[in-house]
Symmetry: C2
Subunit: 99 residues, 2 copies
């Protein structure tokens, strides 16, 4: 099975990350991952239709915010929190804590 | 002459601010204001066409990032830096410093 592409964070522009986070559903996904660590994609089904969620996962993955791994028929997501914090210090924490 | 509307920052959602900053021209405007304080709108004419810039100023104003005042035939912009920092601590600084 094909593995997902994950960009090197040095190739990422902050504008792409800002855009990815500007959607309420994507921001909700990122907040949960920040609080709870790795989660099965199935864990987010309350946030929208499967097809829409797939699009959101892709946007988050392609801008470097999340890492997705497959395990059999399931996929699991993690926030690339440490890398993101090296690239854009303090940014992710300030966003997930914004009320 | 009609004054501009500026939202109360308590009415602002972080998603709106993230969206406003996800455009490279708007991010460039915000960075200059962060570095240099109040600026005449004329100061940004190198960043694009006047009609496009007007749209960007409006987006930045309506999401609460900037304050615009008129003085005769000119308009001047300031970043609402202190208020933004109270509402979303550390956020604006982390964005303008992101390379």
């Amino acid at each position: 099975m094909r593995e997902f592409f994950h960009p090197d964070l040095n190739d990422i522009k902050v504008e792409q990350v800002l855009y990815a986070l500007s959607d309420p559903t994507r921001l909700a996904i990122v907040k949960r991952l920040y609080e709870s660590g790795e989660q099965s994609c199935a864990r987010f089904e309350d946030l929208g239709k499967k097809s829409n969620l797939s699009h959101h996962y892709r946007t988050l993955r392609e801008c470097g915010l999340i890492y997705i791994r497959r395990d059999g028929r399931h996929s699991y997501m993690t926030l690339r929190q440490e890398e993101m914090n090296q690239r854009f210090p303090g940014f992710l924490e300030s966003v997930v804590k914004a009320q």
